[in-house]
């Protein structure tokens, strides 16, 4: 018996404890939420994590910077490309490695395609949590198209290891650019269909409007970032606030809503997909020729002694990497700041007082990826 296994209070026969997870259809992975319920109402919720812990941070302390390259995409398997590229960018900044123009553009396209695929998966699973099974398969169908495009150039479909320090491992071709622009035109139309099918549905609105409202002070207390923060009315996007790579060259909006409920989070994410398409279209039309991998990259990656922090916008929020280097080719400490972990920490505050069905909706709407929580 560990400290979480609180015995049921024998005096209170009205309430009961219910394990939601680790093996439950709507926890999206191996995670457990211990609910204290009174009938259908949640008195308190306690997320219990660690079932999928793989010690990525510890691994980083035992291998050099290049050997750690495949790991970041395993931390968040839905935003693998963004994590992979983000890690490279962090090391590049520490080492002052110049990245060729073409590589930067390729990275932007891959990043945003990855973001759309992650949001699509979220849309599908969120609606499945609400009981609608059909949009799930529609979203997966479209996501498959993105995976095919990325698969062609990177060789993998989920856990990418495409970026290298100083660029990307393989050059793209015209077929890739054609595929991407075809997908963009197709997907803009599809997005309208999704909006009609999902956003306009009365039952969907009933289930999401006013459900799972993040209180205004919650963002600061729990470091909420990403679409969840933007749904609360804060304009915050790492791509805009502290542009990394070449994000400052692109013209895109940061969609926000003010309500902070599940419905607002849905609207923000759907609009974000549209903005990603805008970025991709600009990147495809401006794609320069040149090198895809910097010609002069140091053979041994040894960031100068010191602390480095680098932050990228993942589909779920801001993903930060804190590298403490002692000047050797093995990081002294590599801390990963993952958005899902912050969001799941806020769950007790958000879920208390709601109904059981709302808990599922809230958990679905914040878009958690369990391996990212456990790392």
């Amino acid at each position: 018996m560990n400290r979480f296994e609180v015995e049921q209070d024998p005096k209170s026969r009205d309430t009961y404890y219910l394990n939601m997870g680790p093996q439950h259809p709507s926890t999206h992975g191996v995670m457990r939420i211990k609910l204290h319920l009174d009938g259908e109402r949640i008195i308190s919720a306690e997320p219990i994590i660690g079932y999928g812990h793989r010690a990525h941070e510890k691994m980083a302390e035992n291998r050099d910077y290049i050997q750690f390259l495949p790991n970041p995409s395993r931390v968040d398997y839905l935003g693998g490309m963004i994590y992979n590229i983000g890690y490279c960018q962090a090391v590049e900044r520490a080492m002052n490695i110049e990245v060729p123009e073409r590589a930067e553009y390729i990275r932007i396209i891959c990043n945003e395609l990855n973001r759309i695929s992650s949001h699509l998966l979220w849309l599908g699973t969120f609606l499945m949590d609400l009981g609608a099974f059909t949009p799930f398969l529609y979203a997966f169908d479209d996501r498959e198209k993105i995976l095919d495009i990325l698969d062609r150039i990177t060789g993998s479909r989920l856990t990418y290891c495409y970026a290298r320090f100083g660029g990307v491992i393989l050059d793209i071709d015209d077929v890739f650019l054609d595929n991407v622009s075809n997908f963009c035109t197709y997907f803009v139309e599809r997005l309208k269909e999704y909006e009609k099918l999902v956003i306009g549905n009365v039952i969907f609105r009933e289930r999401t409007i006013g459900v799972g409202i993040f209180a205004p002070d919650l963002a600061q207390k729990y470091a909420i970032t990403g679409p969840c923060l933007r749904a609360m009315g804060h304009v915050h996007d790492v791509r805009k606030d502290e542009p990394y790579g070449i994000y400052d060259r692109f013209d895109f909006d940061v969609p926000t809503q003010t309500e902070g409920d599940c419905f607002a989070r849905t609207l923000v994410r759907v609009e974000e997909m549209r903005q990603s398409i805008r970025i991709i279209e600009q990147a495809v039309s401006d794609m320069p020729d040149g090198l895809f991998l910097a010609a002069r990259v140091p053979k041994r990656i040894r960031p100068p002694e010191g602390d480095y922090y680098f932050c990228v916008e993942s589909p779920r929020g801001s993903f930060g990497m804190y590298i403490a280097s002692d000047g050797s080719d093995i990081p002294f400490r590599l801390k990963l700041r993952t958005p899902s972990f912050s969001h799941i920490s806020a769950m007790p505050a958000v879920m208390a007082g709601t109904m059981l069905a709302d808990a599922v909706a809230i958990l679905g709407s914040i878009d958690i990826v369990v391996p990212e929580i456990d790392r």
Partner: protein
Amino acid sequence: MDWFSQYGFLGALLLSGIVLGAIPVVLPLIISPRARGRKSRETYECGMDTIGSAWVRFDIAYYLFALIFVAFEVDVLYILPIAVIYNSGTYVWRDFIELTIFVGILFLAIVYAWSKGVLHWRSR
């Protein structure tokens, strides 16, 4: 024989339903394998050991629905015999007025339940 051609027939069908329902439940006892796992007969709660029994005193909100239901169901069943003879005899407008009063009272029951907050789930 007359009783049988009426409700006895239906009762026999009901009984046969129980017998037929028992067959597929008994059959696997003979043909199915047996598991020997220690945990296979534990209560399922997402793979964790359960915390306390499920036999708790459950939320009152459900029982309130049961109470309105009992009141309503009986009242609604009273309308059925009226419906069969409605507008058939020498009632002229009497049956209409009486039914309107009856349904009106039923309406009041909903209004009462509504105002007492039965239909609004308690928040917190």
